[in-house]
Each structure stands twice: as C-alpha cells, then as structure tokens.
Symmetry: C2
C-alpha cells in the first residue's frame, strides 16, 4: 500500500510523473467485476495480457448477479433454433432499431446483431447454461428456469409490424430456481467468475477506483484507487477498462441528467455512482443519451395483459400486453407517472391462477367496485372519462379487436361485472442508460471524435446499444458483448 | 493575420506555449454577438476591461435579433406595476420551479428572480424600450408592440394553483411593428449593440472560434479563431466568455442528445452548432439536461384555446389555453408528435375574427365534417374514440367546466355543428436547452465541481435556467442576465 499523498477527492486525472511508486502493475486494469468487467478480463487474459480486476465491493457480481439474468441475443442462436424460432441478424437489428430508438447508434446495433450467435456460443463455452425451454406467458421474467422468453415486446404492437417476432431474452439456468429467489443473473456471473479464477486473473476486492493516471500525452496509463481508505497506484501498461456501472445512485447526476428517475433507482446497486463516466469526462470524453432510462413498473404482467391501463385522465395509453418496461417508460416519462390497472373479477381470477415470477406484484387492489361508474367516482376521475374508455374498449373487444392500441386478440375481452383497480402510481423504478460514447472496439471517444488513448469502457457506464427505448437483456447483452471487445482491444494496447 | 500552422480541425485546446504570436489581445474575449455576448461585453467594458467580441457572421444579433423578443422578467418590474400586476421574486420562483422542471437549478432560479427587477432596469438604462401595454389574448407573441404578455402558462392549469399568476413576458417595443414582420428581438439587440459601440468595444466579424488556448495549468488564456478560413490567435488576459448559442443545428449532437428534435430545428440559427459546448467539454466541463428542448407548435393559439387538441388515439392530452410551447412539448415528447386541433364552425369564425400575431398559422383545415362521427371516420380513428372524447368534453362544457384538463371557463364551450380539424403533425420545431453547467457567476464548471479557470459561458450554450419545461423569454432572459454575470466575472479575472 502506497504512502504517496495523492488526493482522492477529485476526478481530475493524476499525472504519471507524480507517481513515484506503483503498488500494482498489470497490462490491463479492469475497474468493476460485474458483467462488463468479467468479460473484458477473460478476453484480455486470453489475449495474453496480465490482467488485474479492481472491485469496489468484497466480491464479484455487480448489479448483474442480482439481475433477472436476461441476455438479449438472437439472429438464430442455437437455443432459438432448438426451440423452433427463426431469426436473423437483420431481423433482430430492425427490431432493436425501432425498440431502442430514437437516436440509436446504428453501427453498434448492426455489429451487435451480427455477432450475437458467436457471443451466445462464447458464453456457453464459458459455462453459462441455457435450458432448452421457452416461457411464453406475460411477465418480467420466467418463473422457473426456462431459457428463452420474449423480453422486449417483439410480439406485441407496434413492433409486430416492424420485424418478424422472435424471443431473444436468453436466461441462464439456475437449477432448482424458486419463484422470488436468486435469479438467472447469478448463473450468468458464476461461470464467468469461475473462468476468471481458472485463468488466474488477479482481483483486488474492496478497491475503489478514484482517478485515472495519464502520461504527458494524456494517454491513460493507470489508475489511482483506494483500498480501505488508503490510496493505491495501479499501472496499466496497455489499457484501463471502465466497467463501473450506471449513475442511478448519484443524486447530483440524476438531478442533472435524469431528474424523472429521482428517488426511484431500480435494478442498480448503490455503487453505481457514475464514477467511470466522470473520470472519463475529465479527459474530454463524449457522452450520449444521458437522460435515457430503463423504467420498471411493479404491476403484474399477467394482470396487465388481461386488464386495461389508464392514466390520470382515465385514458388508455399503452398496449397492455407488451414488454412491461415499455409500460414503465410510457407511464413515467409520458404520463406523469400516473397508472391504474383496471381488471374485472373474472380476468383477475384467471390471472391469479397463473404462475407469476414475482409474487410481490400481487398486492391488493386500491379500489373495488360493482360498476365502472362507481369505480370512476371512487377514483376521483371526472364523470364519463373512465366510463367512455371502458365502453369504447368493450365495443371493440366484443369483436376481439383493439384498434386503439393493438393489444393481441388473445388478451382482448370485454370488461364486465365487478372491477378491481390497482394503483400503480409510485411503483416505477429504473436505472440510467446514458453514458460514455464508445466505438465498436469499446474505446472511449473524446468529444473530438477520436479515441482517448488507453481508455476503454463497457456496460452501463456507456451509452451502449440503447438510446431511449429498452429491452430486458440489453444491459447484460451490451455489457458482456462490448466488455469482451474492451478486453481484446485493451490487450492489443 | 497569423501564419501559424495551428490545426483548426480539432476542438482540443491549444497550448499557449505553442502560440508564438498573438494576432489580437484583450482582457476579455467574448465569442458570439447575440444576447449573451452583448450583455457580457457591456458589463466587462464597464468594469474596465478591454473587450473583444468575435462574431462568426457579418453582423451583430445572433438568434436573439430574429426572436420574438420576450425577456422573462418579474418579481415586480416597473412595467408589471404600471400595468397593474402584482408579483414577487418568490412568486416568480415558485412558478419557474414548477414550469421549468423537473431538475431545475434552484439556486439559479432564486438568484435570477431576486435580480429580475434590477435586470429590467439595466436593460431600460441601456435603451431597451418596453411599452406600457398589455396583450391578454392567447398567442405566441403580441400582434403589435405591446410590452407585456403571459408567456409560460402562468394563468392556465396546472400552474394557476402553484403561484399567483403574473405576466412576465417583457417584449421590447418596435415602433410601427407590423404583424409577421421584424419583431421584438431586434429591439432588444439594437440598443445593446449601440451600447457596445458607444463603449468603444472592438468587434471582429466573420471570425469563428475554433479552439480554446490554455496555459500549462489548464487556465483558459485565449482562443484560436478563423477569419475567412485563416487562423487567428486571440489572447484573453482575464477570461473568455462563450456565448455561441445552442446545438440545434449540429446533426450529430442532436442524434446523440435530443434525437426527437432531429430534422426540426426552430428559433435557432445555422451557426448554432454546439461549438462552445464541445470546446469546454474538451477541458472536462460538466453538462446538464442535454436532451431538454423547447418545442414550438404551429397551431394558432386563438384557435387552440377555443377548440380541443387530441392525440393519435383521439384523446385530449393538454390544456388547450396554456402556453403553446407547453403544447408543443406535450405533443412531440409525450404524444409521439400526434396533434389534431378540432374546432366547430362558430368558434373557428370567432378565432379568425381575432388578431393573430402569426398569420402563417391560419392555414386550411385538413378535414371538415358535419358530425363528430363523420370526422372520426375521415381521420381514420377507431369508432367511438373521438366521439366519446367530444361527448365527455361537451357534457362538462355545458356547465362551463373542464375537469379533465382544467381549461379556463372563458374558453370552455360545447363543440357543436360543423367541424374543422387541423392536422398539426409535423408542425413542431424547437431548439436545444441543454448545455454547459455554470455557476451563478457564469463560470463554466468542471465535472469535478469547481470552475474551469478563465472560462465563462451564458446563453443557450449553457443549461441556464431551464431543465425540461420552457417559458418564452427564458432564453433571452437567462442569456442576458447570466451574460452580464459572465462579463463582470471575466473582467474581475
């Protein structure tokens, strides 16, 4: 441990000339042992680099190990084929361009889709297990250990008409998984962390990156970190990979960039304080889509598909059988976080008889009523707002259609009899999608357009695949895919 | 003119040690002769600094001289008082915090409101004329030379209940102003440009900023510019003020930060390419609210207030008598740019009999119909969508109320008889509100939190007052107010 008096209360780079002693030395230094960091480390080590992972917490995993585990893969993976689904890279790219836009990095989407089958195989070779089993019900994730599921609204309006639907949410199999317990993300990280161990890659836990170290030409040549509060200097002969996650837990950055997420971080970990983004910004790094956010909503998809969702004016506003993250975004970002799920007794009973991956979603309704008029009044909605919404829905539902929002016929049925209304206001949460702009080799781009020498990044500290939309599996997907690229590119120096 | 071979195809800073000859020298160098630049220059010169303005075009004015001319001022300005309106800084701040949020810089809002009366007096002392006349009709701007108008929805839902309504859109008087001709912005800029001339401030026109020059401690000490394609070096002994406007015309930045504005820049000038933002980013400057945008919609406010606006599902979504910029944002950002104005013949004739500041808005309806059912079918809307919207609106309108969206009783009337529908899709346009994060002295803040030495900024290259909402006059308001601050702070070194 160094006794050098380097300041740690700044994100400005430290000059290498000021470093008189390196406490650690490696070819490639990876900050963060989540999904992006683990993949970067494996590829860098396999390319012959001496790798050192710096992890802020006491163990591997990051947000990934706590996630549901979807990896968004397609274009004809062996799992898709085994389960009878056709897909092509072009079809996948057409869907992602529509679903993740506007403003997507098209080159990155095409690149990602073209490499998706190879990436699936690479994960499998690393030991990540995918069970040949498809879950076709509405939900945030499969309730058991099924390996494949729709995870982005591919088979719902409006994307049905954009690209041939194919499920692309690949979930690592956790044998004996029980509902509500540890999920697929663990079984994504576990084999990869094991691979890191097998490769003999060094890891320093409880070690937190604080500053980048640059030489006189502003090339990144190391990092200043702290371990148990003390500074340590780490030399990176070939490159530094930032894999430090999102900024969902940095209050100031949230206010500055994504204030609608203020107070509702979700599917992130408290270490996600944006440090990687800020360190690179101090070197002139360009950003992208800093206000974009994933938004989860804690309504039960089995219920939502069978009911209708209305906003604060009693109007329907989103296809209820689509990917629930799309419902979350529409609610928080376009409807002032006002969402009410209305479902009749028959449909509610049917929904409750199904399996749900998330029993937590099955809370009590806020209102129950015998008629729509009564519910409308109880909710405090102006007369004839909810009543006309339901009447119009029912009129078309009698014919099995939903021309207003395009819900699939299988979920369309008239709302009749006693009603329940679930108050979903305040049940949105999410994480940030914006971050560093990187190229296809995961090199961090300067605002001037060219790469910052010696600096690479992947995962949610980068803008990655996503612009404003989201699909489950995009983060573990681009984090793992471009994590590998970062490791390869960094190892190449 | 310098023959030094400095590169101009990069936004990276130039080291002062590489500058062997300064073509120009001043204490304070101001880049941009729009509203922020002119105010900065005046205050810097009055503080005793030798000032040099570099202006990219052949004349003063920037986007400001082409603007409607609203300056958002209040808290009890002499004009407000003379016209009988009560206001306080606290009341103004409460409104702006609600209307410009979420995510506003509260310190800046409070500071701006506290200084607003003084700022009004300063503008008047510089020769900016405000006529003691109030325009109370719906509109984007007054049709004549009226000096005061509501310009942010202060007297409409939902802000009616947030703060006591007061009009704060102060418009410089252009004597003999005719509808559709040169507007108030010119008469804001003209006296200020005259003041610059009276103060003997140097201006170099056709001179475009390319790079910042920094010393070995990264303090900004000058700029590299080009004039007629040739590089010129400009020394700034005390500071550089960036007043280069928005990035509304930079295609790449728009895709990266505000893709919904892609292809629809408005109320900006082609020189607004984000150069000031990028030059500062290269020094590690922090940004804020980069995706925020003003959105105009080219519907006639006189018609909109009297009719109803529906989205692509035939649903009302915004109070029709509010500030039209709020309508524009709700349309583009929350309703997929789908907006249809429906108005009956009686109300349309009434609207057309009023004065409108913008005759251009009075185009032909896309559809006319004898009944709502007929219009619904012609528009291709699902059966009973528009019909129920109108029926519900009418049911309440019979009692003079609009409980759904809170339109004021004076504009609420049942829609009856023959109908016209104006297609407003594709009639949105706007400019970017995001930019550099600055402190109350207009110092550009580094991502680390402290100021970048020698660098100041104001106007639309900064995030300024606005987060996600907008009010007309906010840009000329914060540009002039924080332009002055920038000039004072730069002159102080």
């Amino acid at each position: 441990m160094s006794d050098q008096p380097h300041r740690i209360d700044t994100v400005r780079p430290l000059r290498a000339s000021e470093v008189t002693q390196w406490d650690f030395e490696a070819d490639v230094v990876v900050a963060g042992f989540g999904i992006a960091g683990v993949c970067a480390s494996i590829e860098a080590a396999r390319a012959g680099a001496k790798v050192l992972i710096l992890e802020r917490t006491g163990g591997w995993g990051g947000a990934a190990a706590l996630a549901g585990g979807f990896v968004y893969l397609g274009g004809g993976t062996p799992l898709q084929k085994a389960l009878g689904f056709d897909d092509t890279p072009e079809n996948m790219a057409a869907f992602l361009t529509a679903a993740l836009g506007p403003g997507v990095d098209e080159a990155k989407i095409n690149d990602y889709c073209a490499g998706s089958v190879e990436h699936y195989n690479w994960l499998v070779e690393c030991g990540v297990p995918f069970k040949e089993s498809f879950w076709g019900e509405p939900g945030w994730e499969p309730p058991h250990d099924e390996g494949l599921m729709y995870s982005g609204g591919e088979n719902s309006a409006p994307f049905l008409d954009v690209a041939d639907p194919a499920p692309r949410g690949h979930v690592p199999e956790l044998a004996g998984k029980k509902i509500g317990e540890r999920s697929g993300g663990y079984m994504l990280m576990k084999p990869l962390a094991d691979t890191v161990a097998e490769l003999g890659i060094d890891v320093e836990y409880d070690t937190r990156i604080r500053r980048l170290v640059v030489d006189d030409e502003d090339r990144v040549v190391g990092v200043l970190a702290t371990t148990y509060g003390k500074p340590v200097t780490v030399r990176a002969a070939r490159g530094v990979v930032l894999a430090t996650g999102s900024f969902a837990y940095d209050t100031e950055m949230i206010e500055r960039y994504t204030p609608r997420l203020s107070g509702r971080p979700g599917a992130a970990i408290e270490e996600h304080d944006g440090i990687g983004i800020r360190l690179a910004q101090a070197l002139g790094a360009e950003l992208a889509h800093m206000d974009a956010s994933e938004v989860a909503i804690f309504g039960d998809p089995q219920m939502m598909a069978r009911g209708i969702l209305v906003n604060g004016r009693g109007q329907r506003y989103v296809t209820e059988d689509t990917y629930p993250g799309r419902i979350g975004q529409a609610t928080l970002l376009q409807n002032d976080n006002q969402a009410f799920l209305i479902i009749d007794e028959t449909s509610l009973e049917e929904a409750l008889a199904t399996e749900s991956a998330t029993p937590f979603f099955r809370f009590q309704p806020k209102w129950v009523a015998e008629t729509v008029a009564e519910l409308e009044a109880e909710m405090g909605l102006p007369a004839q707002t909810l009543q006309t919404t339901v009447a119009t829905y029912n009129q078309h539902a009698e014919h099995g259609t939903d021309p207003v929002l395009g819900k699939k016929p299988e979920w369309v049925r008239p709302i009749k009899g006693a009603l329940a209304c679930f108050d979903l206001r305040g049940l949105t949460a999410g994480f940030t999608l914006g971050g560093l702009r990187t190229d296809l080799d995961s090199r961090v781009l300067h605002v001037n357009g060219e790469p910052i020498e010696g600096l690479f990044a992947a995962g949610r500290c980068t803008s990655g695949l996503c612009a404003y939309g989201y699909v489950s599996g995009a983060s573990l997907g681009d984090g793992s895919f471009y994590g590998r690229r970062a490791g390869k590119a960094a190892a190449a120096g």
